[in-house]
Amino acid sequence: MSKLRDRAEREIGPRVIVAASTITAPARTAAAARRATGRSGRLELYFGFDDPASAFAVIDLEQRLQGRKVIFDLLPVVERGIKDDPALERKRIYGVTDGRRLGRRIGLTLSRSEPIDRQQTAFLADWVAAAPRGSALTRFCAAACRRLWFESDGPVEAERYEELWRECFGSAPIADQAAVRANQKKMAGRGPYETPAAWIGGRWFFAQDRSAQIADWLDQLGWTVK
């Protein structure tokens, strides 16, 4: 490898990425334009119902966004993660241990000791991806995440979640797997490769660990707590 190429890979490239990440003017201008035309900010949360960190993020962000003029756009996914990741199974098992710690931060106790297979909760993603955005959907997602990870153990029974859906929407759910695939494609296009990921004004954050960064970025964009 030439010296110049080596230096570009080891020093110049990383420095350019870091420097570019500090440019905020375009995002702030776009947010100001949205406000000037009466529109809200938007936080897209890519999450998996089979993921305890996602459950934490849904519940936590629902609380943290209160008082900000920001749409909480809940976008469930099923397939995600690093392609051919050899650590996939270990990460799922560790995720339960980690979910216990995350739950404790918001006063909840994890009720499961084993991971949930993603296919067991795929029906929830199919329903949510097909539903109209709004407070009923947010309520359902937060309640379903609580029930899945903090109030139940064992197999996931679709009937129980259908009851919850009817309580929130007053009608039966409609499943749409194509809408889930569209979420997965959108997530990949935004950059995140794992859940839970929050995308706001051109930046994404791991939603379970970056509450302070998310709040700071929303403030910088002008979507402050009123």
């Binding site: 080891r10 020093e11 420095r15 990425i17 870091v18 650590a87 950059g191 930046r203 960064q213």
Partner: protein, 197 residues
């Protein structure tokens, strides 16, 4: 009675390890523990791939976290390869002479904030000097096969305990992965009655 042991798995090529170091080493100030620094080879030298999307996000995320923590970050020299192995060898020597904390903190800052190349004698020596280490001892460690075997053993143990990334802290068989979990480890140590004073 022997102090409780906390293993601290760390890679000099991991910017999250760099972020963890000041708080990681400070655990030994606050708790009655034996903090065992365990330097490991970078993921990419362990045969694991790191996708471009992950690499890009890591740089951006670490910059934001470094700003939040008040740590310098951005003038980088990626030490993948010889830079990493030489730094690991010296870290083992630093353990032997009781200056692991000083060396790891100095090396992290040099690599992630001062674009120092530890693959060169000039770069590594500067780090060793700032950590108060004798250069001749450090240079001998770089070519010492027993030191290299210790690094390999650390790397193997990380795999054996079933983990994939760093930093990882292990206390009483429980793993705490990531610089974001130091607060959780702190809470666990406090609950175990290990607070000093």
């Amino acid at each position: 009675m022997a102090a409780a042991r906390v293993d601290y798995f760390y890679s000099f090529r991991s910017p999250y390890s760099y972020l963890s170091a000041p708080r990681g080493f400070a655990l030994a100030d606050d708790f009655e523990i034996d903090l065992c620094f365990r330097g490991v080879l970078p993921m990419m030298m362990r045969g694991e791939s790191v996708p471009v999307a992950k690499r890009l996000h890591t740089m951006r995320d670490v910059k934001r976290e470094a700003d939040r923590l008040g740590m310098p970050f951005g003038r980088i020299h990626d030490p993948l390869g010889e830079g990493a192995t030489r730094t690991l060898a010296v870290s083992e020597h630093a353990i032997d002479v009781g200056r692991a904390r000083e060396f790891v903190l100095a090396a992290g800052q040099a690599i992630w904030a001062e674009a120092t190349d530890p693959a060169t004698d000039e770069g590594l020596r500067r780090i060793c000097d700032s950590a108060g280490l004798d250069w001749e001892g450090c240079r001998a460690a770089i070519s010492d096969p027993q030191i290299a075997a210790r690094v390999d053993a650390n790397t193997d143990e990380l795999v054996e305990i079933g983990h994939w990334g760093v930093p990882v802290f292990v206390f009483g068989g429980e793993q705490f992965w990531g610089q974001d979990r130091i607060d959780d480890l702190t809470l666990t140590l406090r609950e175990a009655g290990l607070s000093r004073g």
